[in-house]
């Protein structure tokens, strides 16, 4: 679960004040708002990439406000993927496990599993140079999921895709959410994405997060789902708890 309590962020003249919201385990949260409203800043604060002035960030009940990004176990997918330009896709998928000193055969098995799940087996020996937008997003998703994160943060992952590819990636995200039970926080300004994916929809406006709508969850994790191995997700009650601050 992701819980943000009275979070304040200051970056120069830009401020977010006393933001509070929560997304229950396994739910897909959509954070919406106008350009420049601070959606990405808030997402990066949750991932540990932006300093927090006050307030708390809790992931599955644990206060991680001052933890390093590496210790939070969050899979992060930035806009356009930000793939490592000098690495083959295979190495990108295994990167997080290599850092964790996981034995090579296990890394290879995980890479093969992700490649099948994301349908990128034919790309494993290529570098990001020349990959299409959709392929890049699949690789970025695989790279973020490889170590079995409890939380997935996605920053406008569909914004640069054509309609057909966007629909494919939306299906993929829905499937990942259902199969892995990972809790997702997805930043977008696209209402269509929100309708297709959101269990809980959050609106960031004038420095405050409000609940825009709370949809009946149809992406809740299936029992015994075929998850990315390593971190079984705690299952909470369906429906998000969103507080207006």
């Amino acid at each position: 679960m992701i819980a943000v309590e009275n979070l304040s962020i200051e970056l120069g003249s830009f401020r977010l004040r006393e933001i509070s919201f929560s997304i229950e385990p396994g739910q897909y949260g959509l954070l919406m708002g106008k350009t420049g409203s601070g959606k990405t800043t808030l997402l990066e604060a949750v991932a540990g990439l932006k300093p927090v002035r006050q307030g708390r960030i809790l992931l599955h009940g644990q206060d991680v406000t001052h933890w390093k990004p590496a210790d939070r176990n969050i899979g992060y997918v930035p806009q356009d993927g930000a793939l490592f330009t000098t690495m083959q896709v295979r190495d990108q998928l295994g990167f997080a496990l290599t850092i964790r000193h996981v034995p090579r055969p296990k890394i290879d098995r995980r890479v093969d599993y992700l490649a099948r799940m994301l349908d990128i087996g034919h790309l494993l020996d290529r570098t990001p140079h020349g990959l299409s937008g959709g392929e890049k997003q699949r690789v970025a998703l695989g790279r973020a999921l490889a170590f079995g994160p409890q939380v997935l943060c996605l920053d406008e992952p569909l914004s640069a895709l054509d309609d057909q590819t966007r629909d494919q990636i939306i299906d993929l995200l829905r499937r990942i959410s259902r199969e892995t039970g990972v809790t997702c926080l997805h930043v977008t300004h696209n209402l269509e994405e929100a309708r297709a994916l959101a269990d809980v929809q959050l609106l960031l406006q004038d420095g405050q997060v409000t609940v825009s709508s709370c949809l009946e969850s149809n992406h809740a994790p299936a029992k015994g789902a075929n998850s990315v191995p390593s971190s079984p997700q705690p299952r909470g009650p369906s429906g998000a708890v969103v507080r207006q601050s």
Binding site: A47, L49, K68, A70, R72, G75, A82, T86, I99, F147
Partner: protein
């Protein structure tokens, strides 16, 4: 609605009456300015070559004139390469420039990275200090090094000043500043988010730098190293003051040109100058090929 009518004031004068001017004068002016400079560069090199061919083709007996390869050796270039002082100078130049380039990169990579990625107290001041070797007259750099070494222990002063280490130190002082500028620009161009992703994937700062950022700087490092090497090759002022111009000891190619000129041997000075041009061009070409995507060593 009459707003789209051709009679609307917006359509006066008619768009049809306008024709863009020819682009030829634009390209002629732009190309002309460039050609003047490039032509001047080629002309000075050609003049050097022409001078050597006309003035330096005779009077050199390096190998037996009956040998089939005699025309290749019995000329000004052969004479210069046969001179042990000039051979020593070439060796010292290659070694000192290469060491300077390597040392410059060792400093330029961390300094360039910190300047590019982090805000810290005194950053603007540090930025200005790093420009000092670029804006300062080279002679002043040498003089300042000489003064600095008046305040170090005697054993260190004797080991450095007017010795080979002084050559490398004087070259490095100036070359490093150029390498730092290049590396900072390189890091500025690398998307910060890739590093951030690496941090979320479990990397420490050092791991993210070593595994993700550094491999992406390969071409920038090559450019910075080449620039430092070439700058070191051309360094003269600080060397003269800090390392001296002792034949067979602290003599590098730039000082050889100066020494040959000072004894009136214009032919040898021009020959050594052309050797320097050839060395610089060779390094630039090799670096460019190595840095290109299709060529690996």
């Amino acid at each position: 609605m009459s707003t789209s009518s051709p009679t609307h004031p917006l359509f006066e004068p008619s768009a049809e009456s306008h024709r863009a001017r020819s682009d030829v004068p634009f390209f002629l002016i732009m190309g002309g300015i460039g050609i003047v400079y490039v032509a001047l560069l080629i002309a000075i090199l050609a003049a050097d070559g022409f001078y050597l061919v006309r003035e330096g083709g005779e009077g050199h007996e390096i190998v037996d004139s009956a040998a089939w390869y005699a025309p290749l050796c019995n000329n000004a270039l052969g004479a210069a390469l046969a001179d042990p002082h000039i051979r020593y100078s070439i060796r010292l130049t290659l070694v000192s420039c290469t060491l300077t380039a390597i040392l410059s990169l060792w400093v330029a990579v961390p300094v360039g990275y910190l300047l590019s990625r982090h805000e810290f107290f005194g950053k603007n001041l540090l930025d200005a200090i790093l420009d000092i070797p670029i804006v300062l007259p080279p002679l002043v750099v040498g003089l300042s090094l000489l003064i600095l070494f008046q305040y170090v222990p005697a054993w260190l002063r004797e080991a450095v000043v007017y010795q080979v280490p002084a050559v490398i130190l004087a070259q490095w002082m100036v070359s490093c500043a150029f390498a730092v500028r290049t590396m900072r620009a390189t890091f500025d161009q690398i998307d910060k988010r890739r590093e951030q992703v690496a941090l979320t994937l479990g990397c420490s700062r050092a791991q993210a730098f070593g595994r993700v950022v550094l491999p992406e700087t390969k071409r920038g490092m090559l450019t910075a190293g080449t620039l430092a090497w070439a700058r070191a090759l051309g360094e003269f002022g600080p060397l003269l003051v800090f390392a001296g111009a002792t034949r067979g000891k602290t003599e590098v190619l730039s000082t050889t040109v100066f020494l040959e000129l000072s004894i009136g041997d214009l032919e040898a000075a021009v020959t050594v100058s052309l050797i320097m041009v050839a060395a610089a061009v060779a390094v630039l070409v090799v670096a460019r090929l190595w840095g290109s995507r299709n060529f690996t060593l």
